[in-house]
Structures are given as structure tokens and as C-alpha cells.
């Protein structure tokens, strides 16, 4: 086929294009996914009964703040990655900041703690289910963001998928924090971070599979 014929075909009867706001699309996906996650949490796990009391503690807000900050930073990067030819105004290293803060807090707690209670700080009572639960609660968010990204044009599908998965993991962890009774920083530094890495790895693979165009 001649290139000129193709051009003529593409241009014939071309319809006006609404600028599709990637921010709106991905934002709505995040919102919808998070609402589903919250409903799942409420139905399956239940919200921790002492939420009112712990909500005044610094530890609780750290536990909620670190994943939420990861979601925020990840979102900024996804908005950029979804558009061809845009360079990020912030570096990818920004993703590390919330985790670094959490780790600094964890190491400080660890060092200050009596050696006898250290295993308790690390393993808590729920380490076995933590990664799985966070991944499960990340699923609706991850799926929703993936659908949104399929309508956009990421030129780096694997990286975009990985960061989208990190976002979904952050959302899942934030939701799970409303149920999870663990409050020790070393626990969060290991299990929450791993729980966010699993969705990130899954979504990197899905990015490779589903985000090509």
C-alpha cells in the first residue's frame, strides 16, 4: 500500500479529539480501585476495633503515611510515563524516599530496643499473611490502573507497569493498615515493603504483556 493512500485514509473524515486527561483517567482508576479495596477490607478482614485510639499515635500515621506517599510519588511518575516524549521532572529515585524514611525509623527502633524483644518487633504476629493480604488488596487498584494505562501510550511498558504496581501496592498497604494490628517499625519496613514489591513485580510483567501498542 502506498504511504500517500494511507495518509489520505487516516485524514478522511477525521473526528476532533478531546484531550483525554491522563490525570483524570488514572485518578479515577485509583479512586475506584481503592473503594473496592476498602469494601473488601471491610467485608473480609474488618477494621481494627481500636482504630480510634491508635489514630492519635505517630506510629499509626507513619504506617499509613509511607504507603500513601509512595502512591503519590508513583502517580506523578505514571502521568509522565503515559505520554510519549515527556521527561520526568522528578527523578525515579524519589520513589525511594518514603521507604528510606521507614527504614531509618525501623533501624532506630531496632537499635534502641532491648535485644530480647527484637524478634517480636520484626516478626510480629501476622508476618505470614501480611504480604499476601497487601497483594490481594492491591489487586483492584492495579487492575483499574492497568485498564487506564491501556488507553494511553507508555513508551516504557515494563517500567510503567512496575511503578503502577508500586502505586497499587501502596494503596493496598494503606487500606490494609486500617486492619493490621502491627505497629512496630521493623515489621513494617520488611513486610509492608515486600507486600508492595509483589504487586510491583506482577505489574511489571503485565506491563510487558498488556501495555504494548
Amino acid at each position: 500500500m502506498k504511504t500517500d493512500e494511507l495518509i489520505k485514509m487516516l485524514a478522511t473524515g477525521v473526528s476532533p479529539v478531546r484531550s483525554l486527561m491522563a490525570e483524570k483517567l488514572i485518578g479515577m482508576a485509583l479512586l475506584a480501585g481503592s473503594v473496592i479495596s476498602l469494601i473488601l477490607l471491610w467485608m473480609i478482614y474488618g477494621i481494627r476495633p481500636d482504630l480510634g485510639e491508635v489514630s492519635t499515635s505517630v506510629a499509626f500515621w507513619m504506617k499509613l503515611g509511607v504507603p500513601l506517599a509512595s502512591v503519590g510519588i508513583g502517580l506523578v511518575l505514571i502521568f509522565i510515563l503515559a505520554h510519549p516524549g515527556k521527561r520526568p521532572g522528578i527523578g525515579y529515585w524519589a520513589l525511594v524516599i518514603p521507604v528510606a524514611v521507614l527504614w531509618a525509623w525501623a533501624i532506630w527502633t531496632w537499635a534502641a530496643a532491648d535485644p530480647g524483644i527484637r524478634p517480636e518487633l520484626l516478626w510480629g504476629k501476622t508476618w505470614k499473611v501480611c504480604i499476601l493480604n497487601i497483594t490481594f488488596l492491591a489487586l483492584p487498584v492495579g487492575a483499574a490502573i492497568l485498564f487506564a494505562l491501556r488507553r494511553l501510550a507508555p513508551t516504557r511498558p515494563v517500567l510503567t507497569g512496575a511503578i503502577a504496581g508500586w502505586c497499587a501496592g501502596g494503596a493496598g498497604a494503606s487500606v490494609y493498615a486500617l486492619h493490621c494490628p502491627e505497629m512496630a517499625a521493623p515489621f513494617l519496613a520488611v513486610w509492608y515493603v515486600l507486600g508492595m514489591m509483589v504487586p510491583s513485580a506482577i505489574m511489571a510483567y503485565l506491563g510487558h504483556r498488556c501495555l504494548r501498542w
Binding site: 500500500m1 487516516l10 473524515g13 510519549p84 516524549g85 501510550a153
Partner: protein
């Protein structure tokens, strides 16, 4: 200068101006043809295939260009993405096939002025489901208006629009699968 001119054309195209869009695609084609030629020196007869695939991608993804931003970085990012995709497919193909056999054929087949790919649009359209194929056939190839195509097919106006939109996206995908 190129940026300014191209961007003006593209903004017209995004508002639905077909003439502006056609001119934009022609200008972009010359730029991208040169860009691909410089980079695909080993396979000059694939340049036009790649260019057409890129034009389809530009069309299918034109909503991801933001009107407030410079156009050429977007254009070249789409082109680079398509080129890398093409090279990846080629290297996979060559890993399974002896590339030496094709060498002489490439050289012989290179015609500087043809600007024609080996793709067959008719065959690709046949793959599309009828509710996408007919809207594309009538509005994009036969030049009917959406209303005329709707009357012709008995489909609603919005079904025609959706059919064209989805069908063009599907075409961009089928494009790279057809040998």
C-alpha cells in the same frame, strides 16, 4: 520552525480539520522517513513498512499529545518506540531464520521513490469485525459522512463513530502482525 509549523497543523487536526491533518501527516512522513532511513541502514526496504505502522500509531494515540506542549518530542518518541519494537521483532525473526538469504533481496527491492509498503490494507480490513470494517470502509475509504454511513449500514451515528475509532486502533495492532 519545523516545530512551529507542525504543531499548528496538528492542533488543527485535533480540532477535526482533515486538510490540516493530511498536510501534517505528509510533513511528518518526510521527517520520519529520513529518521528511519538513517537508523535502519541494514534493512532499507523495511523503512516504509515501519513508517506506515508509525503513522497508524500516531493516529491511534493522537489523544496522548497535549496541546500545550511541544510536538516534535512527542512525535519522535512515538517513532522511536515503533522502531525499537520493529527491531526487536526483526532480531527475533533473524534468530530463527538465516538472514543471509534475504540480503540480496533487500538490496534489489529497494526503490527510492516508491514509498510503498508490502502491507495490504484490504486483507487487513477483512480481519476486522463487520461493525468496524464497514464504518471504516464507508467513512475513511469511500469518503462518506458519518450520517451517510449510518444510513447506509442501518447503524446509529454513534455506533459508526465508535466502530471507526476502535477499528483504527485494531488496525494499528494487526498492522505489525501481518507479514
Amino acid at each position: 520552525m519545523m516545530e512551529k509549523e507542525l504543531r499548528t497543523l496538528m492542533l488543527g487536526a485535533l480540532d477535526g480539520n482533515a486538510e490540516s491533518y493530511r498536510y501534517f501527516l505528509q510533513q511528518a512522513s518526510s521527517l520520519l522517513r529520513a529518521y528511519f532511513r538513517r537508523r535502519l541502514t541494514a534493512a532499507p526496504d523495511e523503512v516504509e513498512d515501519l513508517l506506515q505502522e508509525t503513522l497508524l500509531a500516531i493516529h491511534a494515540q493522537r489523544h496522548t499529545y497535549r496541546r500545550s506542549e511541544p510536538l516534535t518530542p512527542w512525535l519522535y518518541a512515538v517513532a522511536r518506540y515503533k522502531m525499537i519494537d520493529c527491531l526487536r521483532r526483526r532480531s527475533r525473526y533473524e534468530a530463527l531464520n538465516d538472514p543471509l538469504d534475504d540480503e540480496a533481496e533487500w538490496l534489489a527491492a529497494t526503490d527510492e521513490e516508491a514509498y510503498e509498503s508490502k502491507k495490504d490494507l484490504g486483507r487487513m480490513l477483512e480481519v476486522l469485525p463487520v461493525h468496524q470494517r464497514l464504518p471504516i470502509q464507508y467513512t475513511k475509504l469511500d469518503g462518506m459522512s458519518v450520517a451517510e454511513a449510518a444510513a447506509m449500514t442501518g447503524m446509529s451515528v454513534s455506533a459508526i463513530k465508535v466502530g471507526v475509532h476502535r477499528g483504527m486502533k485494531a488496525l494499528a495492532k494487526i498492522w505489525k502482525e501481518q507479514a
